[in-house]
Point group: C2
Chain length 585, copies 2
């Protein structure tokens, strides 16, 4: 099979030959200097401060012990620093992947059990293998089959699901679920459990964090701070919330009054862990791991590309797969769970001046210090504070305007968005993203199976041909020129036959049919058989069939068949040539 | 959503309004006369003679009692005569569908049990419902997603499988299987059972039937018979083989020497039967029924279209679904199993002069008479004779030249054929056809995800633009014109971005990039976002982005977005206009 080589791949490889292609660290470490070290260290400190509460919160969202969030933020960052190609991407636990982890593992074990944690570790391991293998086989293009509207719809719906899942924690109510309906039903059923002190902490913290996001930065700037510093200070809001609420709970002994706290987080190095290897567990987790891998990769690579473009840098999507894959394998071996590149923290990393992936490694050191020395201080941290952190973070993901934008632009894109959102909310993340992908592929295939065919004529004074229904053009009653606006392949071959037979059926003076093939990028064997049938049928009717503007690759293939020998008419280089020749006689 | 209306549908409906659209019989019965009656009766007699041994043989192939083949050739033919639109199609049990029935039902019950027969009846009922519902919802286009190479490969492999499955019967060996490997292994394991008399009957009959096909007709013509009569006489060869071998077995009491015979076939009207209605059975049979429906429909409709075209008639594919659907429901209610339009017998029907679907109804009367009065005579019919009939019939289906033809024309079509054949032979019919469909769709999507992009220039002396690598053309160093040979959609949006960035990256004098959109039939929302990103990136590089030859439907959609407001360059009606404008300055 002969396809165009992916231009991107070529360029990316041209710069990185041999070992440094597979170990991008060899590429940037050579020129690493004191200046880069300073920038990276500053960025690492800021990202560490942001990542500590997030790691704990997302681990709880995944239904896992809080420390697993810290573990997932240490070795995976080092692995990515070695194998990843983005200079600003910050890897670690993220909201959507944590939710997907909860959905995948929740089917297999009860939250809080050892089996549950092992299943999450195994999920990270399988996902890491999938990503690495995809990278080595250069299958990064598969991610392109997730359309932008499907991703946008999925992220929005996931954000809503995550926010809904945290409402219970903020009210001190247990319960959960993998769809909006389950979540709301469990909330309603357990409403009597509501704890007013927890609710107060949760609501106040949420309000505070929203204010930090929206109101604090302008205020700080007004007081004379430089905008960048103000921005970074505002990013530390969650840390302040953690500190204040933890102290409050400790000082007033609110834990004894029913406020759920994080409790004892073991201090120390990440443990060495092994995934489960039973074929049963792998069978149950494989599809989930695949979905997590693809969603994680798509999210991560789009952040990485956006940030790279700002500095005119390039990333290599296939090597990114290896970077994320090894990060997940590292996570599985050190007590973590599935990770990927996070949007918000990568932007912070970039804004704080990260120059190289070393910033990620330095962040890992920061989190390691936190895991060693900080965890005792977090004993009294209320879960409601973490829930508030999550809610404020994920509401930034929710963008319902995609519904309106897609509705205006194309009903097909709208159908994909709306279905993805509805099924994600109604049936959960895995069904949602699967339905979105399948639907968008099915709609694309459906569209190509009923192509647009335009009857065209000559635009006066030019050699250009356009649709007779949209433009004032010249035509000849004995010649029908049909421009086929689609590649001809099995799904639309019969459609074309029907279209042509109907067009010529009741129009007596037609002597020539010209198929203008400027938009036909491919004629497969089914379509070739249809063309042969059309040629034979038209010959019986005394009509000659011609082709015009057949592209090089298509012509090459037609020459290898008998079609051109049997064709009653000719193949013209341009439609103008065809018109001149056929109207001359 | 706005798609082109299917022209075919319009025309077919224009001729048949109201009730006669759903009951095509009302259309042709109005003008039915003595002449048509004579033609139809002659055709019915000939098809009946051909159908009797085939019905019995295919029922045995499906693992069912022989009489179910007769039952499946009575009421279904009447139903099709009422609801079908083809004037020559002969409906009944066919080889491939019988094999698929055996594969579907064989998983659920043991051959020879009542459960097995009821499962086959239920399969016909579900398949009938699927076809009828698809017809009422006008989903006939779904069949277009089976590509010609996949169908050709599937039919060829099925023919080989069926022939292999009959070798055991010809040798008097029990056994079976759903893949070539299983079949050969069972044959080998039971080789000791071989019955030499059976083998002799089988081999002689097979040789005789081959000779009838190839040698008898020329001989008869040489003796002075008219070619058409000679042809029809040759078609009666299987009946002669049945008569002679039955008499031989009876006369020499070969059944007592181990020759397997058909045995007692109950005489009488078809019984009234009901399908099973347990959700478990329906769940197990649904996918099989769907595959049988689609394969049966595709085979049948292509025969019907071929025969209709010879007389300048049309068939309505959606109404054909209803015709075949009701035929299958009728089969399920009268002790039959899945049926469809058969290729060989439809050609015989057509050649014998069938004028209307009434010929099918008259054939049903013929088979009914056989079921009432002929069955006692068939008691001593050796199964080996029926196996020989099947082998000779199905080897006509085998056409391995499709492998060579597809290899020459396109590697992608070859991959689809070869995979379908290999998986059908290796893993059975259901896996084979599913793999073929999925693979051909996946390959199409893969191709469209890496589109051909050609850099074009002006063909001197014309206003026509062609690939600079294939033609001698004029270009301008400050203008790059890229013709994109594919619709832009989510799967190739990123590819285009990469392609353009790489093209402009190291080429200093470029000031304008023109995307020639003559082959772009669709720009979906993902691609729109990519175009926006390209526009912004090129603007940063000081390069203006233009479009040319944007089609009407695509332009309509772009006008509903902000893209045209942000576009740094212009949209030109023709590429020549763009070239003139951009090289003038």
């Amino acid at each position: 099979m002969s396809f165009l080589t992916n231009g991107d791949r070529k360029t990316a490889n041209a710069g990185r030959r041999g070992l440094s292609r597979y170990f991008p660290i060899l590429h940037w470490a050579k020129t690493y200097d004191r200046e880069a070290l300073t920038s990276d260290t500053v960025a690492a400190v800021i990202v560490t401060i942001m990542l500590i509460p997030q790691s704990l919160a997302y681990a709880l969202l995944a239904g896992l012990p809080a420390e697993m969030g810290l573990y997932a933020s240490i070795l995976p960052l080092v692995a990515y620093a070695i194998f990843g190609t983005s200079r600003a991407l910050a890897v670690g636990p993220v909201a959507v992947i944590s939710l997907m982890t909860a959905a995948a593992v929740g089917n297999m074990a009860l939250e809080g059990t050892a089996e549950y944690a092992i299943a999450a570790i195994t999920l990270a391991f399988i996902s890491g293998l999938i990503l690495t293998v995809m990278g080595l086989f250069r299958l990064g293009f598969l991610a392109n089959f997730l359309s932008h509207p499907v991703i946008a719809g999925f992220i929005t719906a996931s954000g809503l699901l995550i926010a809904a899942s945290q409402i219970g924690t903020i009210m001190g109510i247990s319960g959960g679920g993998h769809s909006l309906i389950e979540l709301l039903r469990n909330l309603w059923a357990n409403l009597a459990q509501i704890n007013l002190i927890t609710l107060a902490i949760g609501v106040v913290t949420t309000a505070f964090l929203f204010w930090v996001r929206k109101g604090l930065k302008p205020l700080l700037i007004k007081t004379g701070l430089r905008p960048r510093l103000a921005d970074l200070l505002a990013k530390a809001g969650p840390v302040a919330a953690v500190a204040v609420t933890t102290l409050t709970v400790w000082a007033f002994d609110l834990a004894s009054k029913g406020v759920a706290i994080v409790g004892t987080i073991p201090s120390g190095l990440p443990p060495l862990t092994l995934p489960g290897f039973s074929s049963e567990i792998w069978g149950q987790l494989f599809v989930s791991a695949l979905l997590i891998s693809i969603i994680g990769f798509v999210e991560s690579v789009s952040v990485a590309q956006t940030l790279a473009a700002k500095k005119r840098q390039r990333i290599d999507p296939d090597q990114e797969l290896v970077g994320l894959g090894t990060a997940n394998i590292a996570s599985a071996l050190s007590g973590g769970y599935p990770v990927t590149g996070g949007f918000a923290r990568s932007v912070v990393n970039y804004d704080a001046g990260a120059e190289t992936p070393a910033a990620g490694a330095f962040t890992a050191v920061g989190i390691l210090l936190a895991a060693l020395f900080l965890t005792p201080l977090l004993h009294y941290l209320p879960k409601a504070t973490l829930a508030a952190t999550i809610i404020v973070a994920v509401l930034g993901l929710v963008d319902l305007s995609i519904l309106k934008r897609s509705w205006t632009y194309s009903r097909i894109d709208f159908a994909a968005v709306a279905t993805t959102i509805a099924i994600t909310l109604g049936l959960g993340v895995e069904m949602g993203v699967s339905a979105g992908v399948i639907l968008s592929l099915a709609l694309f295939l459906y569209k190509t199976s009923r192509p647009h065919v335009a009857e065209v004529g000559l635009v006066p004074g030019t050699q250009h041909f356009r649709n007779i229904l949209r433009h004032k053009v010249e035509t000849d009653p004995s010649v029908v020129t049909l421009r086929i606006d689609e590649s001809l392949y099995f799904a639309n071959a019969r459609f074309l036959e029907d279209y042509i037979y109907n067009r010529v059926a009741c129009d007596e003076p037609i002597r020539h049919v010209v198929l203008m093939c400027s938009a036909v990028n491919e004629i497969d064997m089914s379509a070739l058989e249809s063309l042969e049938a059309i040629n034979a049928r038209l010959r019986d009717l005394g009509i000659t069939l011609h082709l015009s503007e057949v592209k090089g690759p298509v012509m090459d293939r037609l020459k290898r068949s008998h079609f051109l020998d049997d064709l009653t008419g000719r193949v013209y280089l341009s439609q103008y040539d065809a018109m001149v020749a056929l109207t001359a006689g």
